[in-house]
């Protein structure tokens, strides 16, 4: 068990940066399963945990939004904990039941939870044994999404990292590009069109739509992150030879442009071609963002820690929408993937890594920002105090990357403010 929650203290941010310890109001990494199981269409996620784990995922996903989900929980009972039942035999039985039920599943992830980690249930060994039993039918491996090791979006990083060793080796002398981190299907399609126009071929999105989409990796691999919750996976890929392209995330018109430019530069694509290809989508994105700018300009925004998207969102909002950043709270600040962002952030913006909930809420109440970005458990509580909020899970569950989503992204933040200006009713009574 390794603590992966606090990053190194090395910093590329010129401004104030503190780490807070205390009560944290964030989901655990199991929550990542909600989008991972939709992205990888032939994968199944079996959490080995407690009723709390099952309840968390269904509550965060909105109860039963899917007819039959591609995730489930093997709930540990007293017999398992008291050693009356052999956990590995029990898991064997549950997995066989599951595989018999869902014949279309090609990949099964056993997902560790807080209770399974605390009782030191070795899921890696369990997965290897089960793999031997179900060889040729389904690929079985494990990762941990436990709350004692991961927050919310870090679950995706753990999941992807667990598959890096399986990636085939890229033939010597060949080149490819890995776009790292779940993006929505439509974003992948848009990006592929732009890569084609830029003449960049052999592009892999990781994770792909199928569990078998395993990009080859080697010294000829260039790597770029599409979103921030991939730091450990990036390190594992770098260890296998990949070269990380440093860039801001493709959020907003400017972020997307810089992201593509960084890739094109790594590929030494001619500048006039790059500008020609990007000009149209860039101008379109600027137009789309500008229609929201008047609603956002000059407003003060405060980020409470939640999704790890806080820093790039703050950069987009200050750079393109004219917002003033009060404070950026982030659950985990991964310096490696955030390098391309920090240089574009105003130096006086305070970054708070980690959380101590009650004092953090007091800072919000004192400064009364125009908009607070926070988790679902907190948003209505702040709204009832007359503060406007944007619940951040929406930033993870909607297509936000790329030129053609830049306007949608601005609108996610503009909407609560527009709503405030429209409504002629009082607030919470």
């Amino acid at each position: 068990m390794s603590a992966v929650i606090v990053s190194s203290t090395e910093s590329h941010h010129a401004g104030p940066q503190v780490q807070e310890r205390g009560q944290r109001a964030v989901f655990c990494g199991l929550t990542s399963i909600i989008w991972l199981h939709r992205r990888i269409q032939d994968a199944f996620f079996l959490v080995v945990g407690s009723r709390t784990c099952a309840h968390l995922i269904q509550s965060a996903a909105g109860v039963m939004i899917f007819a039959e989900p591609r995730f489930a929980t093997a709930i540990l009972g007293e017999r398992d904990l008291a050693g009356m039942a052999d956990c590995h035999e029990e898991l064997d039985r549950v997995v066989s039941e599951l595989i018999a039920r869902r014949s279309g599943i090609n990949r099964l992830f056993l997902v560790g939870s807080c209770p399974s980690e605390v009782i030191k249930l070795d899921l890696e060994t369990a997965a290897a044994k089960l793999q031997a039993k179900h060889e040729n039918k389904v690929r079985i491996s494990s990762f941990s999404g436990s709350g004692i090791e991961t927050t919310f979006t870090q679950g995706e990083d753990q999941c992807l990292k667990s598959t890096v060793a399986e990636l085939p080796t890229l033939e010597a002398g060949k080149e490819n590009l890995i776009v790292l981190g779940t993006v929505s299907d439509i974003v992948e399609d848009q990006f592929r069109r732009l890569f084609d126009e830029l003449g960049i071929t052999d592009v892999h999105f990781y994770p792909g739509r199928k569990a078998g989409d395993m990009p080859p990796i080697g010294p000829g691999t260039r790597l770029i992150a599409a979103q921030p919750f991939v730091g450990e996976t990036a390190r594992a890929l770098i260890a296998r030879g990949a070269v990380l392209i440093e860039a801001p995330f493709p959020l907003g018109a400017e972020g997307s442009k810089s992201w593509f430019e960084a890739i094109a530069e790594a590929y030494s694509r001619p500048d006039d071609l790059v500008q020609h290809v990007l000009e149209l989508p860039y101008q379109r994105a600027k137009r789309a963002v500008s229609s929201h700018r008047s609603k956002l300009e000059g407003k003060r925004i405060h980020f409470l820690p939640d999704s790890q998207l806080e820093i790039p969102m703050a950069r987009f909002l200050s750079e393109e929408c004219g917002l003033a950043i009060n404070e950026i709270g982030t659950p985990f600040h991964d310096q490696l993937v955030m390098r391309g962002e920090l240089s574009r952030l105003a130096p006086e913006v305070p970054i708070v890594e980690g959380q101590d909930l009650d004092p953090a809420l007091e800072r919000v109440r004192e400064s009364r920002p125009d908009l607070t970005v926070c988790g679902m458990g907190i948003a209505n509580a702040l709204e009832s105090e007359g503060l406007r909020t944007k619940w951040s899970i929406e930033l993870v569950f909607s297509p936000v990357q790329g030129f053609d989503q830049a306007g949608d992204l601005a609108s996610l933040f503009a909407k609560p403010l527009v709503r405030e200006s429209i409504l002629e009713v009082g607030s919470w009574s």
Binding site: I5, Q23, V26, T31, R51, E90, V94, G147, I148, G377
Partner: protein
């Protein structure tokens, strides 16, 4: 180890949070890893509560294990006591904390906190949410009241005749099904019969309020899932009688009035207490089409039992299945099932519930949010009558389930998903109308009608049929002319008829022979 796709109940500590969130001036310190704070959104999102539940989570991490988790507990306790200044501080473990055995209750008692502490044991690996709520409420009431208990055998003094009788309403909580409105409705009902409400708890009560529970004449066990344990203890310890009828539906409301009157020793004129439109609405000829509609009921124990009675006796439905996910209430539901000549389905596995619904092919499902999805998938109309429920079942409008107004609400809510009587006739007559046919769904529900998806799921249902009996092409075609909401029943009856008569092929005539046979 138990394979679970969806769960009807959360873990027991969520029950404890429900009690804490329902009350004033209490705080819960929950020893739990990061992530367990998701429970907040149940209250702030699903119930749209304007405040976070009064809970401090320790949110320990891997690096804290083995060294400092106990210190985090003490720090959290002190900060919670200092910041929130509750009248009572409750302390509990979530599932993971239970494993590391820090004993936060003992730590709290030894920490010399400036506030009374109630320590809870939540048994995360054997129990579930409703048990957790019941246990929390019981420990809280017992912890506050046990020192005030009279000596065993003491005769309870009779009420001064000059004082109006009063009762406590025990059991309603946040995230309970329509508790907010049921409390208002039952209080109104009691007031109209000359009975005061002394304390409502947990919902809206402070620990100070709980101290005055023994001042009432009796306790109404309004939500037995939460209040059974507490009512029994109050009966044993303070000699307070428990009023057990749950006033859901017209008949049960009248039974409730009678039980309250008998318990507190007053005379009431039943017809002057209040009235519901349900009896007349149900007798009016428009409701004839409700007769014998086959309904499947699945809910928590008390709502399942109450709904079945309303369904049969007050709506004129036929109850073809009844069950509960609540093992603690299994006995009540089994007893009720017997009355309907049924075997109760006691399970918290929604796949089993789905299989039963598919097998029974009811014309309506009364269930939880889970059954709403099952029914949607199978194209069967459904009304939600119990937790677990989703945000749309915490409505803005006044919408009680109990008392006379509650009976009105039940009538409206259960009739709404159905296709209305005359419309049903027209669908039988002109099946091929391109704009108005059964695959479109009830006209008043637009595209959201449950029937709209029926056609898609029918093949799944077909596969359930006995393979030894074959439908002739013409007979199959004739069957398709029967509207979807009775087609399942017709198919089942015809196959049963064929089987009983040793027929291997179903012809058009077999279909009509079966229709005549089962017509009654």
């Amino acid at each position: 180890m138990e394979l679970t796709l969806w769960t009807y109940e959360g873990p027991p500590h969520v029950g404890a949070i429900r009690v804490a969130a329902s009350m004033r001036d209490v705080h819960l310190m929950l020893h739990s890893p990061q992530g367990d704070t998701y429970a907040d959104l149940l209250f702030t999102m699903i119930e749209r509560d304007g405040r976070r539940p009064p809970v401090t989570y320790t949110t320990f991490q891997a690096r804290d294990l083995g060294s400092s988790t106990a210190e985090i507990v003490i720090k959290s306790l002190r900060e919670a006591a200092e910041r929130y200044k509750p009248q009572v501080l409750m302390v509990a473990d979530s599932c993971t904390a239970e494993l590391i055995q820090d004993q936060p209750g003992a730590l709290a008692l030894g920490a010399d906190l400036p506030v009374p502490v109630i320590s809870l044991e939540m048994a995360a690996y054997t129990r579930k949410e409703n048990w957790g709520a019941a246990e929390t409420f019981y420990q809280l009431v017992r912890g506050l009241l046990s020192r005030n208990a009279p000596a065993p055998g003491t005769q309870r003094p009779s009420r001064d005749p000059a004082v109006r009788p009063s009762v406590n309403l025990l059991g309603p909580t946040k995230l309970g099904f329509r508790c907010r409105d049921d409390v208002v409705e039952v209080e109104r009902l009691l007031n109209s019969m000359g009975v005061d409400v002394n304390v409502v708890a947990p919902l809206g009560a402070s620990p100070q309020d709980l101290l005055s529970i023994p001042n009432a004449d009796a306790n109404v066990n309004l939500c037995p899932e939460v209040s059974d344990l507490t009512c029994s203890w109050l009966a044993r310890t303070f000699g307070m009688p428990t009023i057990k009828t749950i006033p859901m539906g017209w008949g049960a409301t009248r039974d409730f009035i009678a039980e309250v009157a008998a318990t507190v020793g007053i005379e009431v004129n039943m017809d002057q207490v209040g009235a519901s439109r349900l009896p007349w609405y149900s007798r009016s000829i428009d409701s004839t089409y409700l007769t014998g509609k086959r309904v499947f009921v699945f809910a928590d124990g008390s709502h399942a039992v109450a709904a079945a009675r309303v369904a049969r006796d007050e709506m004129g439905f036929e109850v073809v299945g009844i069950g509960t996910y609540s093992r603690e209430r299994a006995r009540d539901v089994r007893a009720a099932a017997k009355e309907y000549g049924l075997e109760a389905l006691i399970t918290d596995n929604y796949l089993e519930v789905e299989a039963r619904v598919q097998e029974l092919q009811p014309e309506m499902v009364l269930g939880t949010q889970m059954e709403r999805h099952i029914a949607k998938r199978l194209g069967i109309p459904c009304a939600v009558i119990s937790t677990p429920a989703h945000v749309q079942d915490y409505p803005a409008r006044y919408s009680p389930q109990m008392g006379f107004e509650g009976a009105n609400v039940l009538f409206d809510t259960w009739v709404h998903p159905l296709i209305m009587g005359l419309e049903e006739h027209l669908l039988h007559m002109f099946r091929d109308d391109f704009e108005f046919n059964d695959s479109v769904g009830p006209s008043h529900l637009g595209s959201e009608g449950e029937g709209a998806r029926a056609a898609k799921t029918e093949n799944a249902q077909d596969s359930e049929t006995d393979e030894t009996i074959v439908w002739a092409f013409e007979a199959e075609k004739e069957l398709k002319k029967i509207p979807f909401f009775v087609r399942g029943k017709a198919r089942r009856n015809t196959e049963k008829f064929a089987e009983e008569h040793g027929l291997s092929t179903i012809e058009v005539d077999t279909l009509y022979d079966a229709k005549a046979h089962f017509s009654n």
